[in-house]
């Protein structure tokens, strides 16, 4: 009897699981949210509320609901109330596309705020192009993309990864000479590391001084890798780790670093995916002094940030609830969308898309961010050090705002490309061949 079972155990797991989660999500989505009245402007929220990404994305759904509620208190938009339509794509990439289609065709939303992983963004892209709608994407990502229907309010690599490496190379950052690029094995870390590798080599770092390491999602046994990093770091040159390790796997990684006695003063780790929200769920002792690069930290003092934190904690009825970088991206993105709609006086997607470049909105760290013709925004870059209370101390920041660059200047295929949706009307214009359509 067991014989016949064994193959059944190993193989159909994933496909069945997908089906079951899909069914569960469909039920969840059907519940929807109560409408304000007949004449409303609908805003779609496409964030996973179940599955592995729920840990990060649930917060973004909450912040969107809060922003919409605040906007309605101010009288709504174009004299109408805003109405949130929440769907749950359940951390399931194909389901993202299905849910996006549902939001646009069935619910007729005027814009969608959503997605976290690059895979989910890539899966909804064709839907937004086909149905000509608007997506605001709030998470730092690998760049190498600019679509007419998408507005990228998170950081491009030149707004997070490159400044972080510059910091580590500076005197204050410890003048690192040897680099470990550690990441989870998927598109964002792979592309970011490719850009960083090219950048480091351009800065004169030898091949032998760069170690690249990938681990599966949710990797929990870091013993070998941490001792590899230790060994790599004992070559007599200052070593730094640039971590694109995703969410969950970070906790055991930092624990192992702490247990094997790797201190931030010896080998600092700068992370691109560890924020306040992630730190809230873990013992910060082994992380003290390690770094994170973001465009926003909760600990940054500014009147607008103080107000935002207070509103958020009142809204969630939790005085300890933290804020983080992708939340700020949604705040800025939502404000920009509202201003663009007010400017053109309609929710017609073509008009709003054309109106968005050039729109300015205050970011939460005291500056004014601007939507650029390449659909990315200008952002300040901060390096923060982990504090015992799970917040960050800003130890470095850029002088002004850094404009987001869709196509990296350090990759051979993309340095000739330019995205400009205002004059060139093209997301991948080749400056050498003077054609639209990539390399």
């Amino acid at each position: 009897m067991y014989n016949s079972l064994r193959p059944a155990v190993a193989r159909p797991l994933t496909r069945r699981r997908l089906l079951v989660t899909a069914a569960g999500a469909a039920i969840g989505a059907g519940l929807g949210f109560p409408a304000f009245g007949q004449d409303t402007i609908k805003v779609g929220i496409l964030h996973s509320l179940s599955g592995t990404m729920a840990i990060s994305e649930t917060t973004l759904k909450d912040v969107m609901l809060m922003l919409i509620e605040e906007q309605n208190k101010k009288g709504g938009l174009l004299g109408k109330k805003l109405e949130a339509v929440v769907v749950d794509p359940a951390s399931n990439w194909p389901l993202f596309a299905e849910k996006a289609r549902e939001l646009i065709t069935k619910d007729k939303v005027s814009a969608v705020f959503g997605c976290w992983t690059s895979v989910s963004r890539k899966s909804v892209l064709p839907v937004f192009k086909e149905l000509n709608s608007i997506l605001f994407y709030p998470v730092q990502y690998e760049g190498e993309e600019s679509e007419r229907n998408v507005f990228y309010t998170g950081a491009a690599p030149n707004q997070q990864a490159i400044p972080a490496v510059d910091y580590l190379m500076s005197k204050d950052g410890g003048e690192a000479k040897r680099w470990v690029l550690a990441g989870t094995d998927y598109v964002y870390p792979r592309t970011t590391n490719k850009i960083l590798e090219a950048y480091l080599k351009q800065k004169g770092v030898a091949d032998a001084d760069i170690m690249i390491n990938y681990t599966p999602f949710g990797h929990s046994d870091w013993q070998t890798i941490v001792s590899d990093i230790k060994r790599f770091g004992s070559a007599g040159k200052k070593t730094a780790v640039v971590s694109t390790i995703n969410g969950d796997a970070n906790v055991p990684f930092y624990k192992e670093l702490g247990n094997q006695g790797v201190k931030a003063t010896d080998i600092p780790v700068v992370a691109f995916s560890v924020g306040e929200e992630e730190l809230a769920g873990l013992d910060t002792k082994p992380l003290l002094g390690h770094l994170a690069a973001w465009n926003y930290f909760q600990s940054i003092k500014s009147p607008i940030n103080d107000t935002f934190i207070k509103t958020w904690q009142t809204y969630t009825k939790n005085p300890k609830r933290v804020t983080n970088d992708p939340m700020e991206a949604h705040v800025v993105g939502f404000e920009m969308w509202v201003k663009a709609v007010q400017k053109v006086g309609t929710i017609d997607p073509d008009k709003v898309i054309d109106a968005l470049p050039g729109i300015e909105a205050p970011n939460l760290t005291g500056g004014i961010s601007k939507m650029l013709p390449n659909h990315h925004i200008t952002k300040p870059v901060f390096i923060g050090e982990v504090r015992a209370d799970g917040q960050f101390d800003v130890v470095w920041k850029t002088d002004g705002l850094v404009p987001g660059d869709a196509w990296s200047d350090y990759l051979p295929g993309s340095k000739d490309l330019e995205a400009d949706w205002v004059t060139l009307k093209c997301g991948n214009y080749n400056k050498v061949t003077r054609t639209c359509g990539g390399a």
Binding site: R16, R17, T215, T224, A235
Partner: protein, 538 residues
């Protein structure tokens, strides 16, 4: 001549004036150094640290120590520096005079640090505490100087080496002196040669680090010796590396075993495909979280024992859920594996979402008791206490379970029921309740595994998903229905994985293991330790 005299007098006068003003403004190098902490700027803070350290002031060690732990405070308004004394209930003292600060100003804020400043502080404290009466401090100081290579510490080092009686600390001091000598241009070649020998004897990664990083100006002979030493150390470390990998393999294997051992009972012994097994592990981890929350809130002194309290509770929680599941769902599905698979799968989703609703989607912070933090060195292998505890704990659970099945009445009845249900029933064994108890036992052990896994993995609703496939792999590979097979299977997979990982990378290693298992199952469908006899046909 006279004019010359006048000129000389004038010069002397100028010199005196300069001297006077200098002493007037720079009344005290210590006070001057303290003022640097007011700037709230990292470069200035570093100047302050170096100034305080070189002032020789009796408060220097206290001030730098306070700075290291964030207890050095400054008032920008009053331009004064204060420190909180850890040995004295965090009372506030004036850093200039060392007297208790009666009326502290309102705008106190800590002097900020970054990694560069922290590194410098470590070196400075090392140099300052080389002669400390506390042996632990002396050892830490020697290790800090080994890293900082602070040339000014050399005289103190000589003094400390002469005085030291503890052989381990003496060794560390001599190694520290060797690095200082190697990185100082003014030392003789003979000294440097001796220093290379000392470092070579140390023989670890840090030693290689020192030898690789030799300054470019070092004498060629010393460089050659260093290169030889690096080769020798690397050769000996290669052997240690193999041992280290073996240890990592055992440690990974014990985690796999712990996760799989409950499944070895429910799937291996009972033949139930329990897809909710991972969720039983997760329930155990959440029980640990709840126990720790209660301890933190009510009895903070008990925190180091929290895991011991959590173990029986996790066993009970997961075990009871297991019995409930068996009575309500699985007992109706015996002999229908596909339905069992689907039903338990649905159950796993329900349990996950239930926990997500009750505790929220974010990870929960399960603390590590102090006795499980850190590591010790066995030769050149670093063994972390948390992994060691898990290995020991797993073996303990394994032995207990084996004993339970072998020597107790319950175990006997379990084996009887699984081997021949009809016969067992006719001998008067209530097979229904034995089924429930066996399933409860398997689930309870999964709960215990959750307590241990909460120490090395995230406590989130998805915790169990990461282990379910690995657990099935171990049980199937080891041979269904055999606990020893599970043990050998888990350790083999763990060790194979850890030897593949440095070569192929973590992602490929995992794929390779999966491919190997598939090939192995083709060859030996019943796994490593196949059951023989009539039981198999049942």
């Amino acid at each position: 001549m006279r004019a010359y005299c006048h000129r000389l007098l004038a010069l002397a006068a100028v010199f005196l004036v300069i001297l006077f003003t200098a002493t007037a403004t720079r009344a005290d190098p210590y006070e001057d150094a303290l003022a640097h902490f007011l700037a709230d700027n990292f470069n200035s803070t570093i100047e302050g640290i170096n100034g305080v350290a070189s002032s020789g002031h009796p408060l220097a060690e206290k001030v730098v120590g306070a700075l290291q732990s964030g207890r050095l405070l400054f008032s920008a308004e009053q331009k004064r520096i204060f420190y909180r004394d850890r040995d004295d209930g965090d009372n506030l003292y004036d850093a200039l005079t060392g007297t208790s600060a009666a009326a502290p100003p309102g705008d106190l804020s800590p002097v900020r640090l970054n990694n560069r400043v922290r590194g410098i502080i470590e070196g400075v404290i090392g140099s300052l505490t080389l002669l400390s009466p506390d042996p632990a401090k002396r050892l830490a100081a020697a290790q800090a100087v080994f890293k900082s290579r602070d040339a000014t510490a050399l005289p103190t080092l000589e003094q400390a080496i002469a005085k030291e009686t503890n052989s381990r600390i003496k060794r560390a001091l001599i190694e520290a002196r060797a690095t200082v000598i190697l990185f100082l241009d003014s030392t003789s070649e003979a000294d440097k040669t001796a220093a290379v020998a000392t470092i070579r004897e140390r023989g670890d990664q840090d030693a290689i680090g020192v030898l690789r990083g030799l300054p470019a100006g070092a004498p060629p002979d010393v460089k050659r010796l260093a290169a030889d030493a690096i080769v020798a150390i690397e050769r000996s470390l290669a052997i240690w590396d193999t041992l280290q990998n073996a240890w990592y393999g055992i440690s990974l294997g014990s985690v796999l075993l712990l996760a799989a051992i409950g499944l070895a009972i429910t799937f291996g012994v009972m033949g139930v495909i329990n897809m909710a097994h991972g969720e039983m592990v997760m329930l155990g981890a959440y029980t640990t979280y709840v126990v720790q929350e209660i301890i933190r809130a009510r009895y903070p002194g008990l925190f180091d024992y929290s895991l011991f309290i959590a173990i029986p509770l996790a066993f009970l929680v997961s075990g009871l859920v297991g019995i409930l599941v068996e009575r309500c769902i699985i007992q109706f599905l015996y002999g229908r594996p596909l339905e069992t698979l689907l039903a338990t799968w649905g159950l796993s989703l329900i349990l996950q979402q239930a926990v997500r609703t009750a505790f929220g989607p974010t990870n929960k912070d399960v603390g590590t008791p102090s006795w499980m933090s850190g590591s010790f060195d066995l030769g050149h292998i670093a063994i972390t206490y948390n992994r060691l505890s898990i290995v020991v704990f797993t073996l303990l659970v394994f032995v207990l379970l084996l004993g339970l099945l072998r020597f107790t009445r319950l175990g006997l009845e379990m084996r009887a029921v699984t081997q021949n249900r009809a016969m067992a029933a006719s001998m008067g064994i209530r097979t229904g309740s034995i089924d429930a108890l066996t399933f409860g036992l398997g689930s309870g052990i999964a709960g215990i595994a959750g307590v241990a896994l909460s120490q090395i993995d995230n406590v989130s609703p998805n915790l169990g998903q990461g282990y379910i496939i690995d657990s099935f792999m171990v049980v199937v590979f080891g041979g269904v229905g055999n606990l020893w097979g599970t043990l050998v299977g888990a350790l083999t997979l763990g060790i194979a994985n850890k030897f593949l990982e440095p070569v192929a990378g973590a992602v490929l290693a995992k794929i390779a293991i999966l491919v190997l298992i598939i090939l192995f199952i083709q060859k030996r469908p019943r796994g490593l330790f196949a059951l023989k006899g009539r039981a198999v046909e049942a």
